[in-house]
Symmetry: C2
Subunit: 222 residues, 2 copies
C-alpha cells in the first residue's frame, strides 16, 4: 500500500523533518517520485523507519553505527552476518585492558569447557575479557567464583534469543528480529534482573531480621 | 597502614590530580593532616577510591550519581537500602512511555505469577515496563512470547547476585559487593550472552547449510 509523506510520518511516529533527514543521510531509501516535490512510500519504508527508530532511540547508537546495521539488513543474507554486525555496533570499540592475559586465560577455559563456538577476535569477546579483567582488578572473588553460574544463565538467554529469531517466517524477518531483538531484549533482561534482585534481597533481609529476633542473647550482648 | 599521596596514587592506579579532584568534590574523605600541605591516607581511602573508579570508569556514572552511591555506602546499614540506591543510580530516570498500560498489565501478571516481591514505584520497575512497551510497540511477538523464559534467566541471575554478596564476611563488604557487583556484573553477563548467541547462531547456520545440501530439489527450484 502506497502512502504520502504525511501518512508515513503518522504511522511511523516520526516527524516529517526527521524522516527527510534520514532520506538525505541515505538511511531511508528514496520513495517513488510522482512529481517534482511529491513522492510515495510503502511498507518497506515503514519497516526501515521502525528499525532506524529502535537503533537511534532505544539503543542510542550514533548515526554511523545505525548506517552499518541498516546496510547489513539490506545486503547481508545470513543471520550469522547480521548478528555479527549488530553485536559489533552494540559493543563498540573495546581497548586493551590491564591484566588482560589472566582474564583471557579464564575466558578461554570457560569457552572450551562449555564447547561454545564463538569468534575470538570479535568485540563481544574483547568485552568479555574486559569484564573479567575488571572483576579481577577489583578482586571481586565473590562474583568470579560464580562465573560458571553466570555463564549458565547467559547460555540460556543466548539460546532463547537465537531460537526466537529462527522461528521467523523468512530470512528478512529473521534478520530484522536479530537486529531489533539484540537492541530491545537487553533493557528487558537488565530490568528483570533488577526486579529479581529486589525479590531475593527482600528475602535475605527478612532472614536477617528473623535471625535477629530469634537470638535475643546476641542482641543483648551487642 | 598509612601512606602518602604518591603511594595512594600508585596503589589505586589513579593520578594525583584525579585524587585531589575527588577530595575537593567531597567524594573521598580527607586524610590525616601531618603538616600544612601533607596528609596521610589509609586502606579506607584506597577502598573508597576503588569504588569511585568502578562507578566512574566502568559504570560511566555522572559525578552526582557517584556521590549518591558513595553516600549510601557510608551511611546506609542494610543491603536492601544499598541495593536500592545503586539500582536507582544505574537505571537513571525513566520517563513515561506510550502504551504503558498494556505493558504494566503484562509485567504485573508476570511478577504475580512468579511471586516476586519487588518495589512497584522503583526506577527498575519503570524500566521493565518501558522495555516491554518498546517490544509491544515494535510488535516483536517473537520475543514477547518468550517473556517467561527470559524471566527464568533473570531470576537465576538475580539469585546468584544476591547469594554472592550474602556470603560476605561483614555488612560493609556486603554493601561494597552489592554496589560493585551491580556495576561490574552487567557487562560480564552482557558479553557472555553475546558469545552464547554466536554459538547458537553458528549452530543454526550450520543447520541451514546442511538443509540446503540435503534438499537439492529446493535449491534447483530457486
Amino acid at each position: 500500500m502506497e502512502m504520502r509523506m504525511a501518512e508515513l510520518s503518522r504511522r511511523s511516529g516520526l516527524s516529517v523533518p526527521t524522516i527527510k533527514y534520514y532520506l538525505r543521510e541515505g538511511l531511508l531509501q528514496p520513495g517513488r517520485r510522482t512529481s517534482v516535490n511529491q513522492a510515495r512510500y510503502d511498507d518497506a519504508h515503514l519497516e526501515r523507519l521502525r528499525l532506524i527508530r529502535a537503533l537511534v532511540k532505544v539503543a542510542g547508537l550514533p548515526l554511523d553505527k545505525v548506517r552499518e546495521v541498516v546496510q547489513a539488513v539490506s545486503i547481508e543474507s545470513s543471520v550469522l552476518d547480521a548478528m555479527g554486525v549488530t553485536q559489533d555496533a552494540l559493543v563498540g570499540d573495546v581497548g586493551a585492558v590491564p591484566g588482560e592475559d589472566a582474564a583471557l586465560q579464564l575466558l578461554s577455559e570457560l569457552v572450551t569447557a562449555r564447547g561454545w563456538r564463538c569468534q575470538e577476535g570479535s568485540p563481544a569477546h574483547a568485552a568479555a575479557v574486559q569484564a573479567i579483567a575488571e572483576l579481577q582488578a577489583e578482586d571481586l572473588t565473590l562474583l568470579l567464583d560464580r562465573l560458571d553460574e553466570y555463564a549458565d544463565a547467559a547460555d540460556a538467554v543466548g539460546r532463547i534469543d537465537v531460537r526466537a529469531v529462527a522461528e521467523a517466517e523468512n530470512l528478512e524477518t529473521m534478520i530484522r528480529g536479530v537486529v531489533l531483538g539484540s537492541v530491545l531484549r537487553r533493557p528487558l533482561l537488565d530490568s528483570l534482573v533488577l526486579l529479581a534482585q529486589q525479590h531475593y534481597a527482600n528475602q535475605l533481609n527478612q532472614k536477617i531480621e528473623t535471625t535477629r529476633h530469634d537470638t535475643p542473647t546476641r542482641q543483648a550482648r551487642a
